[in-house]
């Protein structure tokens, strides 16, 4: 029984990480229809930048976090401006290839700047494990839960109750109609890239004390985030959180009861099954294909 609690708790805390990373995918996808294969690299950038400011420059924690998010956001904007915007109306295949190119480029640049070593970020509030019903988690996990909840609430507020948020949703629904009513679609696209870069890097920073960070952590984390968002039906709200938590739980239970070696295979088999049988996600509404 003890084991089960620990599996559940471990699964949920990893799931929160996946959900947080998944958000970034959803925001860009909903505004532009693009799946940004470079999303994982923003997670990596967050961790590596925070490490750089905190450990190498010796800045205190909060300025390091803010600076890292700012820089990652700027990278996101530059990426959109230089690589995505000139390709307006391109076929998805070109956009996919260009985001893959960007992810390779960012990874390579990070390797040149910070080297190939793995680094650990100090935990925000100590390393003493917390006990919950016989299972343990780290204080850092609480940070992750808190930030995930904060991100859902603020994104809900933003998309439902602000003019800019509503405008972004309008673009996602129909860009042409949105521009007819006076919304500057280009700015909305840029905004979506900057928000998702910011959220991605934030995720990267708060998980780095637990998972450690290096130039190449982005690939796997990005893929897991993507699985979460597919299960959740590409929503930038509760769906993705549920998707992430479910994925985390299945992985932990799979590793606990079946085999750890096939843990990642489980994640991707779920991904395929959902894409085949319920492309709108487990928690999403059905959408008709637009030509």
């Amino acid at each position: 029984m003890d084991n089960l609690y620990q599996y559940l708790l471990s699964g949920l805390s990893n799931g929160a990480i996946y959900a947080l990373i998944g958000f970034g995918f959803a925001i860009i996808h909903n505004a532009t229809g693009i799946i940004n294969f470079a999303q994982g690299e923003f997670v990596m950038l967050g961790g590596m930048l925070a490490l750089f400011f905190l450990v190498f420059c010796g800045f205190p924690l909060s300025p390091s976090i803010i600076l890292s998010i700012l820089i990652a956001t700027v990278v996101g904007i530059i990426f959109e401006r230089l690589a995505i915007r000139p390709l307006k109306n391109a076929k998805p295949i070109r956009l996919i290839i260009i985001t893959i190119g960007a992810s390779i480029f960012i990874r390579g640049a990070a390797m040149l700047i910070w080297g190939k070593d793995t680094h650990a970020l100090p935990a925000f509030s100590g390393n003493d494990p917390l006990y919950i019903a016989g299972a343990t988690i780290m204080p850092q996990h609480l940070w992750i839960f808190a930030v995930t909840i904060l991100v859902i609430f603020s994104s809900r507020l933003f998309f439902n109750h602000t003019i800019i948020g509503k405008a972004m949703r309008a673009c996602a629904y129909n860009a042409q109609a949105a521009s007819l009513v006076g919304i500057d679609v280009r700015i909305m696209v840029m905004l979506s890239f900057s928000i998702s870069a910011a959220i991605g890097s934030l995720a990267g920073i708060i998980i780095a004390p637990l998972t450690m960070t290096s130039y190449d952590v982005g690939i796997m984390l990005g893929l897991k985030g993507f699985c979460a968002v597919i299960i959740g039906g590409m929503s930038s709200g509760l769906g993705t959180v549920m998707g992430g938590l479910l994925l985390g739980l299945l992985e932990a239970l799979g590793a606990g009861f079946i085999s750890a070696g096939y843990k990642d295979a489980i994640a991707f088999i779920i991904l395929l099954l959902i894409l085949f049988f319920r492309p709108e996600g487990l928690f999403g509404k059905k959408e008709t294909e637009r030509v």
Binding site: D2, S10, H119, L210, M212, G256, G261
Partner: protein, 380 residues
């Protein structure tokens, strides 16, 4: 007119003489294929640095028998296809007389058919047992066999009356080879493996596997992997409050591991080459001189600690150097002399190659160390 002809003759003679002195001793070409970038860069990078440093040193001291060495390094990125291409290039285009590398067992295995066919000696820097078992005529290795590390741990366990263990290994070449040896050797020491878990090289949380281990009847945990996975394991063991002693492999015997694992590193026991505890060795240790010179030189050149892995390249270069000094510069002569290497005190251990043994080390190549207060402590 005649004067002119004389002058011409004189000038050409001077040129020939001059050229003669320059070209009389062209450099001896040695090749290296190492995984400098890619997933195994933690092996390849220190190995390349060490090899370059050693060649530099040898050349400064006048080379081998008056001839300089030229080291040609190709990065294989941990990719078997690139390793085979690089070895072909070294042999057919660069015409090297001996090769060191690759850093990983997989790549070392991949290039064996090529060197065997071309008859050029290679000294692998990877640990897999099957590189030199069965013995292949042209293949040697300097990295200690995984089986030796496993035996060192099991010996200690037997002493401490540990009978049941759980193992958690990484699912890459290093972990797979360790896992195989752990399972193979356990029975010899009266040890039973009650749980056999794995994790992926990029995994960031092993609490599920360790929870399972916590609930088992194991008395100790053995983790086999290279950074950063084992650091996550060490942290998770601490998080879960597991009290069983934790053993690691020589794959983490670098300061980086202690830094990454933080408080989780405390008390961990692992087999390692002597390089990390060079200053704690007794004065009569045969390797001490080589170890200290390597550690100091490396720190001077690269501003970081020289590690266990770089040592494999040190040994490989020095073994080739000694072989050339004894027997000449043809690939065949180098191979024959390598096989005759006796009592060579290097970084990895004391090498004794023979016709039946191209790995050359015994389990004494390893010492057991324990991490105490963030430092390595030799267990005697």
């Amino acid at each position: 007119m005649i004067k002119n002809i004389f002058r011409m003759c004189f000038i050409s003679m001077v040129i020939v003489l001059f050229a003669g002195t320059v070209f009389a001793a062209p450099p001896i070409k040695i090749g290296a294929i190492l995984s400098v970038t890619g997933p195994a860069s933690f092996l390849g990078e220190p190995e390349r640095n060490t090899a370059l440093m050693m060649v530099d040193e040898i050349n400064k001291a006048g080379g081998i028998n008056g001839r300089k060495i030229e080291l040609i390094v190709y990065d294989t990125q941990g990719d078997a296809t690139k390793a085979v291409q690089a070895v072909n290039r070294l042999i057919k285009s660069d015409k090297v007389v001996a090769i060191i590398g690759d850093s990983t067992t997989g790549n070392s295995m991949a290039v064996i058919p090529v060197v065997e066919k071309a008859e050029v000696p290679i000294i692998s820097c990877a640990a897999g047992v099957k590189i030199t078992d069965p013995v292949k005529k042209w293949v040697f290795k300097t990295a200690q066999n995984d089986s030796l590390a496993v035996m060192k741990i099991f010996e200690h366990m037997k002493e401490k009356k540990i009978k049941k263990i759980a193992i958690i290994t990484v699912s890459d070449g290093f972990g797979a080879s360790g896992r195989e040896q752990l399972k193979l050797k356990a029975a010899d020491f009266g040890i039973e493996i009650v749980l056999d878990e794995t994790y992926g090289p990029k995994d960031t949380d092993m609490t599920a596997q360790l929870t399972k281990i916590r609930g088992s009847s194991a008395q100790a945990i053995v983790c086999w992997g290279t950074n950063p996975g084992p650091a996550v394991v060490a942290r998770n063991v601490k998080q879960l409050g597991i009290k069983m002693p934790l053993f690691m492999s020589h794959g983490v015997s670098s300061k980086k591991f202690i830094e990454l694992a933080g408080e989780g590193a405390e008390g961990i026991i692992l087999p390692s080459g002597r390089v990390i505890v060079a200053d704690q060795l007794p004065g009569n240790d045969l390797q001490k001189k080589a170890l200290l010179s390597y550690v100091n030189n490396y720190r001077k050149h690269y501003k970081v600690e020289g590690d266990h892995f770089g040592g494999h390249a040190w040994d490989a270069i020095m073994l080739i150097k000694e072989a050339i000094e004894r027997g000449g510069t043809t690939p065949a002569a180098i191979r024959d002399q390598l096989e005759k290497t006796k009592n060579f005190a290097g970084i990895g251990g004391i090498f004794n190659y023979s016709e039946q043994d191209h790995a050359g080390l015994t389990k004494d190549a390893f010492v057991l160390v324990q991490i105490k207060k963030g430092e390595w402590k030799l267990i005697k």
